[in-house]
Symmetry: C2
Subunit: 233 residues, 2 copies
């Protein structure tokens, strides 16, 4: 079995999908599943699932498949999901508020423990069951609570500054919602969430698949033609 071999990043990115699927299957009362069935459920090949898991050990039984709750427990353990990870959010605009009050984190291993902004009008306002704090307090709180994960939810123009602040405070993983490229030091994890970028790649296939549809809307005004610039929250 594949110990000692470096685990490809792409494998690590698939593990949460397995967790999601296995949790659903467990909730449906399914006790056992083969790589073929799990693959069909998720939309990947059976070989890929077996290969992915082989990087971490042997979790199945030949002739039988995998015990759902066992495999779920194991993959969660591999990902470090046996605890709840505290996170901080910077940016208390619409997006930051939505993130801070999102109730889908807790059941999957995460919890927003503080929301920050630098706008005096927002500081002190309630968001979910938290209160917006001055971003100046971030370093103290991150250190005090040992927070390792930060979420950037400010406009593009301020995002790098916020990321720097987070890293200096001890944050080790940054989830960036701002539509701009951030730079972090070696060793700090950085991932972008940019649904618009995903949409933009999908339109490539819409236009190139011969579906020359009735044009509904043209870029409205001269401004739109040039505008991909710094969107707001």
């Amino acid at each position: 079995m594949g110990r000692d071999v470096e685990v490809p990043e792409t494998v690590v990115r698939r593990l949460p999908i397995y967790v999601r699927a296995l949790a659903q299957l467990e909730a449906e009362g399914i006790k056992t599943i083969s790589s073929l069935e799990l693959g069909r459920f998720i939309g990947v090949t059976a070989a890929q699932i077996r290969k992915d898991l082989s990087y971490f050990g042997e979790f199945g039984k030949q002739g039988r498949g995998y015990e759902v709750s066992h495999l779920l427990r194991e993959v969660r353990r591999i990902l470090g999901l046996t605890r709840v990870w505290p996170m901080v959010v910077v940016g208390a605009g619409r997006l930051g508020q939505a993130i801070a009050s999102y109730d889908g984190f807790k059941p999957r291993g995460f919890e927003v423990v503080a929301v920050f902004d630098n706008d005096p009008a927002k500081i002190g306002q309630p968001v979910g069951h938290l209160v917006v704090r001055d971003v100046d307090e971030l370093p103290a709180i991150v250190r005090a609570l040992g927070v390792k994960i930060g979420i950037v939810a400010v406009p593009a123009a301020e995002a790098q500054k916020v990321a720097n602040l987070m890293v200096d405070a001890g944050i080790r993983a940054v989830l960036n919602y701002a539509p701009t490229a951030l730079h972090v030091p070696e060793g700090i994890r950085l991932e972008d969430v940019d649904p618009v970028a995903i949409l933009q790649s999908m339109t490539y296939y819409l236009v190139s698949s011969g579906d020359h549809d009735p044009v509904v809307a043209e870029p409205s005004g001269a401004a739109a033609a040039g505008g991909d610039s710094a969107p707001e929250l």
Copy 2:
């Protein structure tokens, strides 16, 4: 130059990043850029940028680099971003509302033209400058407006049903925010947005990078600044 060769999907997924970066550079007044500089800005290699672009044509000038606004226009055209794409959102909960009233779509080529739900309490409520409609009206509206893109923002349990409805109505690209695996027919584009899955893959590196976390503060790269203050919150 690389005409006729099938364009790798991974290249198409990077194009929006180029658009984002080029728009920022243009806004900053930068007229010309080399693949090396653009690569540094985005965080990819110069060779990758040149190779990616070579699938679509020749956009640079040897010895000089790329003209920012020209390249931006070209990449937008390749992606089909010379028009505004109408989209429908299903699910008018917190997430659906946030999506429907997000003002970052318009400047990047998209517009939510309708929001649907099946909850009578939500139907008729205003969301942004729209009003929540009964999901039963979706097929008629999608057909009438020629909408090709649908956003799923309902709970996992209802997501597949919604996706089916969308596809039957003529939707060709589905952006799924529900944390569950969806299945769509061949030829329909499907992409997931699952920030929690991204977080879960980041924790893998947090636990396995020898940072055996003491629930309290750690010396981050620099010296352990400041005394340990009492946990707030």
